[in-house]
């Protein structure tokens, strides 16, 4: 029974995505209820899958009866299961936010569901080309969602995202081509065996493939210096979309990077080709520092959060690149935790903007009393992101630090520890501004966004609930980590 779950997880959102378009013959408001229904089923399936993987191990399905490695295989282990659960819960939860926030057309929800389908597909697949296809589906849905903003600048941001994202995906495809040329197979498990047999880890072909794949996915994860699409895309899309994309799209792309690193190229590759490991660590470390440095200089809050993502994903990739069991657990925990924290932060900025029109750091002054829930949620999530224990942001970092110490990679230890201070640098001034400074009335309030006819300017209960839930989860998840740890280490056998 459980073998059907991965397939259903992908099919249900796709089918559900077509329904709002069909329903638009009758009504233009069918999108939200259909999305709720579809994603409720999706989340339920994802939860069931996670529990199953936790108790009984890996779930593997082949499509249409074509056996692997000739057919496409879906393979769900501890890492995939938790990411799928994240995708399900976050996309479902954000629907509560989206009900009142813009936009609300059928087409929007169709794209929303397509995005979920693409993300889920990326997560459950066990075939590298299938990953490319879902990567592009995710991308297309994301470009469309970014463009749903009212202003022209949303379209420009979406186009920039599209052009850069396509380059990234195409580089990934090229890397897959190289792998195909080397081994003749596209199945991840099979590749892991065939790469050392048929080409050897240190052959130019394989190393080039690695470089292309990492480079391509780095664009999608938005590591420095190929992150340039992210600040525009995050700050110019509607608030729901920012929250959704920031929480999920880069996250699943980072998951894809990890999956290829650990299950296709495997830890042996990293030990044999030291250059690969050091190169990846260098890119990650530079991302950590550069992202924070750029974030500090931003005045727009959402752009600051985008650069913060650059930094945090550097942390995640560093954890995966160290490739010891603890480091991988840490990277996964931080991946999930960051998704929730970043999504919650964007949701909070949305609430603040709707109530007061504030978008820049200086406009945030003194809002602690005017928007208590939004500011409070923002403060809690920001403090968690800095790495103050016992929130989940700290737990991930701690595991990565221990992993790096064990592997004796001291520069990375120093950078990861320093990242706390760097993150503090840009979040502290915002929190200080919120609570310990006086605010002035904001002039842009009248120009910003839409007339009140469609309800904008109001903050619904759903929006507040999302922020509160995110803040609560950041602390609660930290307690769940020890339970999750064995799921991960046992189902990723290459690590042991």
């Amino acid at each position: 029974m459980i073998e059907h779950a991965p397939v259903l997880l992908v099919v249900v959102p796709i089918v559900a995505a077509s329904l709002p378009i069909v329903a638009s013959i009758v009504t233009d408001r069918a999108g939200w209820p259909i999305a709720v229904l579809g994603l409720a089923v999706h989340t339920g399936l994802a939860g069931w899958l996670l529990v199953h993987v936790h108790t009984e191990g890996v779930v593997s399905t082949v499509l249409a009866g074509f056996e692997a490695p000739y057919g496409i295989e879906l393979y769900v282990d501890g890492l995939s299961a938790v990411v799928v659960a994240l995708v399900g819960v976050t996309s479902f939860g954000l629907l509560a936010y989206a009900r009142k926030a813009q936009p609300r057309s059928n087409a929007f929800y169709a794209q929303y569901l397509l995005l979920v389908a693409g993300l889920t597909g990326m997560t459950v697949t066990g075939d590298v080309f299938n990953l490319y296809v879902f990567l592009e589906i995710t991308g297309l849905a994301a470009y469309g969602l970014v463009a749903t903003g009212r202003k022209g600048s949303s379209a420009v941001a979406a186009l920039k995202y599209l052009l850069l994202g396509t380059i990234g995906a195409s580089l990934y495809l090229l890397g897959v081509g190289y792998l195909l040329a080397a081994t003749g197979t596209l199945n991840m498990e099979d590749l892991a065996e065939k790469i050392p047999e048929m080409a050897g880890y240190d052959s130019t072909l394989i190393v080039t493939a690695f470089g292309l794949i990492v480079g391509g996915l780095a664009v999608k994860v938005a590591l420095f210096p190929v992150h340039t699409w992210q600040p525009d895309a995050y700050s110019r899309s509607p608030d729901t979309v920012s929250a959704l994309i920031s929480a999920l799209v880069s996250t699943v792309s980072a998951y894809a990077l990890a999956r290829l690193l650990l299950s296709v190229f495997t830890v042996e590759f990293l030990t044999e080709v030291q250059l690969a490991q050091w190169g990846l660590l260098a890119v990650a470390s530079i991302s950590i520092v550069a992202g924070s440095a750029l974030a500090v200089s931003q005045s727009d809050v959402q752009r600051m959060l985008a650069y913060s993502s650059v930094s945090q994903f550097g942390l995640v990739v560093a954890g995966f690149a160290i490739a010891t069991p603890l480091a991988v657990v840490g990277a996964t925990v931080h991946l999930i935790g960051h998704a929730i924290m970043k999504g919650g932060l964007f949701a909070a900025t949305g609430i603040v903007r709707r109530k007061t029109g504030a978008t820049t750091v200086s406009e945030y002054a003194g809002l602690g009393s005017r928007v208590p829930l939004g500011a409070g949620g923002f403060a809690v999530l920001a403090v968690a992101m800095v790495g103050v224990p016992p929130a989940v942001g700290f737990v991930g970092k701690w595991y990565i630090v221990i992993g790096a110490v064990e592997a004796e990679i001291w520069p990375v230890v120093a950078v990861v520890l320093a990242s706390t201070l760097l993150t503090l640098a840009y979040f502290a001034r915002l929190i200080e501004r919120l609570y310990f400074a006086e605010g002035e009335p904001i002039e842009t309030a009248t120009e910003s966004e839409q007339p009140l006819a469609d309800g904008s300017g109001e903050v619904s209960f759903g929006m507040k609930a999302v922020v509160v839930a995110a803040a609560v989860l950041t602390v609660a998840l930290a307690a769940a980590v020890p339970i999750y740890e064995p799921t991960l280490t046992e189902t990723l056998p290459q690590l042991l």
Binding site: E136, Y143, G152, L159, L162, I167, G177, L180
Partner: protein, 120 residues
């Protein structure tokens, strides 16, 4: 070494197309030309893939009724590229739709002008 340089035409073609595509994407100011550049970039990759499938002296990968299974060109990359072409078409469609909207909002397709307008 020399025969490496002389015989791998497909690599040259690919590199050329990738280079042209990337250059157009980065350098052109006109948004439509950027989209064209993106297409050329992708086409380069597609051609590379397909050229990988080529086996010297093999026939097309179609099994005739009654014939034996002889040497065929590998059909797998062809199939993959068909998928990828479709993806490329979808991307181009979305990109052009965005371009139309940008034109409607800004009245120009010049990247620099749009940037200036945005910063106002």
């Amino acid at each position: 070494m020399i025969d490496l340089l002389l015989t791998r035409y497909n690599y040259y073609a690919t590199m050329l197309l990738l280079g042209i595509g990337l250059y157009m994407l980065v350098e052109s100011e006109n948004l439509v030309k950027k989209v064209i550049g993106m297409n050329i970039f992708q086409t380069g990759i597609f051609l590379f893939f397909i050229s990988l499938a080529y086996v010297d002296g093999a026939s097309a990968p179609i099994v005739d009724k009654g014939s034996e299974v002889g040497q065929h060109v590998s059909p797998l990359p062809h199939v993959l590229i068909l998928t990828a072409i479709v993806v490329g078409v979808a991307l181009t469609a979305v990109a052009l739709a965005l371009v139309i909207r940008i034109y409607a909002e800004y009245g120009t397709l010049n990247e620099t002008t749009i940037k200036e307008l945005d910063h106002d």
